[in-house]
């Protein structure tokens, strides 16, 4: 019998759970986590992330935080440490800007010039982020997940 991948298990829910309004989801690990992160991204998420290049988020913190919320809403079952470190996308502001990043922990959007190194592990996503065939790139601790405009996900180990 086929079994749904993400089925909240009532037997595994804590007896004293306060999740009467928001059911607690089982934390994913290993292959289950890998498979979850490959699932095609939702249209709502894609639409929200498209605002990353609106050219205003660099100064508008509220809009940046809205993007972070969109990321968290897309992956409700992921713990904070499992969320992407950041989202890197091609910047269409024009020269000299090449890419911009959404820092998930900091909740800020920053634009980077050509050749200007990005912080942390985000630099490793630059080559793929500037490729026009991807809408944006989610950077995780050990993988880079490039997302196409249709939401399909491609995984690169780093």
């Amino acid at each position: 019998m086929p079994r749904p991948l993400l089925r909240p298990s009532t037997s595994e829910a804590p007896l004293t759970s306060s999740s009467a309004t928001a059911p607690k989801l089982k934390a994913l690990t290993g292959d289950a986590l890998t498979a979850r992160l490959r699932v095609k991204r939702s249209a709502a998420y894609m639409a929200e992330l498209a605002k990353l290049d609106a050219g205003t988020h660099g100064i508008n913190r509220e809009a940046a935080l809205a993007l972070v919320d969109a990321v968290r809403a897309e992956f409700p079952e992921l713990t904070m440490d499992q969320l992407p470190l950041g989202i890197v996308a091609k910047c269409y502001l024009g020269e000299p800007f090449e890419v911009h990043i959404l820092d998930i922990a900091g909740g800020i959007v920053t634009h980077y010039r050509r050749g200007e190194p990005m912080p942390g592990g985000l630099e490793k996503a630059r080559s793929i982020a500037v490729n026009p065939y991807y809408a944006f790139v989610e950077v995780y601790a050990t993988t880079v997940r490039a997302v196409r405009a249709d939401g399909s996900v491609t995984v690169t180990e780093i």
Partner: protein
């Protein structure tokens, strides 16, 4: 008199100095020639080392080939000795069916032939299956059932599949469907025997009637859904496809970029990137080739079924598998020209095809890759590929993304001690200016060093001698001789300095010219390389589109039943 002596002394000293100068020049020429000889020797030594390594590798590969060829003969002999008698029985399977069609062989002959097979092949499932077949043809129901039970006891799956095909061949649609239902009921999609590919082959060949076809579609859809819901199984096959697609990279780039190869420290990454984007063309061509043209199926149903029966009884006996595995490994070593590492890498991809049981999608992967025992028809390969296309696309996407991620954004350039960077070769003017500035700075530094080295002490000493000659007239000649001597020395030093400066000027002029021409060539190559990469990278999108347009329903063969067409 004293003047004459002084003149003669001066002439002698001057001649000696000229002689010393000539000697120094000759010595300098000799040193230069030794340097050249040493450099040439170094090049020859490097070339010799490379040749030696190549020879060692070639020799090792040659020996590996020879050993593998000998072992292959031995393994095939062993297969013949241990399982040769199976071949005889296998031939009887279609033989009996065809003889029954033509009704030119006596039933008694068929019976004795199958009974003899039964005695000669203890434990082999096909022998009682053949006895059942001949008993069925002779209308001996009890014997047929008894033999069939024995065949099912020995290998239920293969017997069910064989009976599905045989019943279909004889036009017994209900019986065929019943055997097929039984066959599906026996299966665990995570642990399927390799013979399940015969089922895919049957679908691709269009041998099933409408009811069996519907049942097969239903079962396959259920298997794929069940497998899709278990984490890790599809990931494994996706990884196999990724490895197989990665293995399609060429050994060397098709275009040459000699300047980048020589003057760019980034060249190994650029080369890797070029080879990576080359995969798109190779993989795209393979897919086009697989799906190009029409697959011609025999118009007669019996011929198609006989082909499947032959395949079922010949290729899927697990007892032979260890030897078949050895045989394939040795074949790959020979195909790889004795390169064991390359052969091992290829076998790592094929290994899954030589295990007794695997998941349905692993079986599909093997069939789509065309690996494993026995030759599969192109129709089967197409259908298996079409059924696997979802994770093939994912695997291909991963490979493409990996190649894209590894394309170097900045290209480092290094000419002698100058270093620069470019992204697309568009900063040629800036690079040219930078190279010129760098060479000018080096030239200025060399001149400054030369000036610092030029010590005017012989002129100072000559001046002191002149002063002493004036003060101490008793040794006038001696002081004058010394003054002239040092004066001449200073003159020679000055001439040598002029020559060195001339040489430096010529050297830097040539460096400026060479540097500019190298930078121009590098920028041109960077432009060409980026264009090639962009063009090859764009092919990935057309290959992807081609893959997304593949539908499994389009590759189910048309049935040979008169007046009936299969619509998937």
């Amino acid at each position: 008199m004293s003047n004459l002596v002084a003149d003669s002394l001066l002439a002698g000293i001057s001649a000696k100095l000229v002689h010393v100068s000539n000697e120094i020049r000759a010595l300098s020429a000799n040193v230069q020639s030794i340097e050249q000889a040493s450099a040439s020797l170094q090049i020859q030594l490097t070339s010799l080392t490379a040749d030696f390594h190549q020879f060692v590798q070639h020799d090792a590969a040659h020996k590996e080939m020879a050993i593998s060829e000998t072992r292959l003969v031995r393994v095939r002999q062993q297969l013949e000795t241990e399982y040769g008698f199976y071949a005889e029985i296998r031939r009887r399977a279609t033989g009996i069916l065809q003889a029954s069609d033509l009704a030119i062989v006596r039933q008694e002959t068929m019976r004795s032939s199958t009974e003899e097979a039964m005695i000669n092949a203890p434990g082999y499932w096909l022998a009682p299956a053949l006895v059942a077949l001949s008993a069925w043809i002779a209308d001996k129901r009890e014997l047929a059932q008894k033999a069939l039970l024995e065949a099912m006891r020995r290998d239920d799956c293969k017997t069910s599949l064989l009976m599905t095909l045989v019943c279909r061949r004889l036009g017994r649609h209900d019986a065929s469907r019943a055997w097929l239902v039984r066959y599906f009921a026996l299966q665990d999609p995570f642990k399927l025997d390799r013979d399940v590919i015969v089922l895919v082959d049957a679908l691709a060949s269009g041998v099933f009637g409408a009811a069996s076809l519907a049942k097969s579609h239903e079962a396959i859809a259920a298997w794929l859904s069940e497998i899709g819901n278990r984490v890790g199984v599809i990931e494994e096959q996706r990884a196999r496809w990724s490895a197989a697609i990665q293995g399609m990279r060429l050994a060397a780039p098709s275009s040459h970029y000699p300047y980048l190869e020589k003057y760019s420290p980034t060249w190994p990454r650029l080369r890797d990137g070029l080879l990576g984007v080359g995969i798109n063309g190779t993989f795209g061509d393979k897919v086009s080739q697989m799906f190009g043209g029409e697959v011609v199926l025999s118009p007669r149903l019996v011929e198609r079924v006989d082909g499947l029966v032959d395949g079922l009884v010949t290729n899927y006996d697990d007892k032979e598998l260890p030897l078949r595995r050895q045989e394939r490994r040795l074949e790959l070593v020979i195909e790889s020209g004795g390169d064991r590492a390359k052969a091992d890498a290829r076998f790592a991809v094929e290994n899954e095809a030589y295990v007794e049981q695997s998941s349905f999608i692993a079986v599909l992967t093997n069939a789509a890759m065309g690996i494993g025992v026995g030759d599969l028809s192109r129709a089967t390969q197409r259908l298996a590929f079409a059924l696997s296309v979802a994770w093939i696309i994912e695997a291909y996407d991963d490979v493409v993304a990996d190649v894209r991620a590894k394309q170097p954004g900045t290209i480092d350039l290094a000419i002698d001690d100058w270093a620069g960077t470019t992204t697309d070769g568009g900063n040629e003017t800036a690079l040219l200016g930078d190279v010129e500035d760098h060479i000018n700075a080096r030239e200025t530094a060399d001149y400054a060093r030369l000036n610092a080295m030029t010590f005017w002490w012989p002129a100072v000493v000559a001046g002191v001698c002149v002063v002493l000659a004036i003060v101490n007239r008793s040794a006038l000649t001696l002081w004058l001789v010394l003054a002239v001597l040092f004066g001449v020395g200073q003159g020679i030093k000055y001439v040598m300095r002029i020559n060195t400066m001339k040489r430096l000027r010529a050297h830097y002029a040539s460096r400026r010219e060479a540097g500019a021409s190298i930078v121009k060539a590098l920028c041109a190559e960077v432009v060409d390389l980026r264009e090639e990469v962009t063009c090859e990278d764009a092919r990935a999108e057309s290959v992807r589109t081609m893959l997304t347009e593949i539908r499994s329903g389009e590759h189910v063969g048309a049935t040979a039943d008169p007046g009936r067409r299969i619509v998937a």
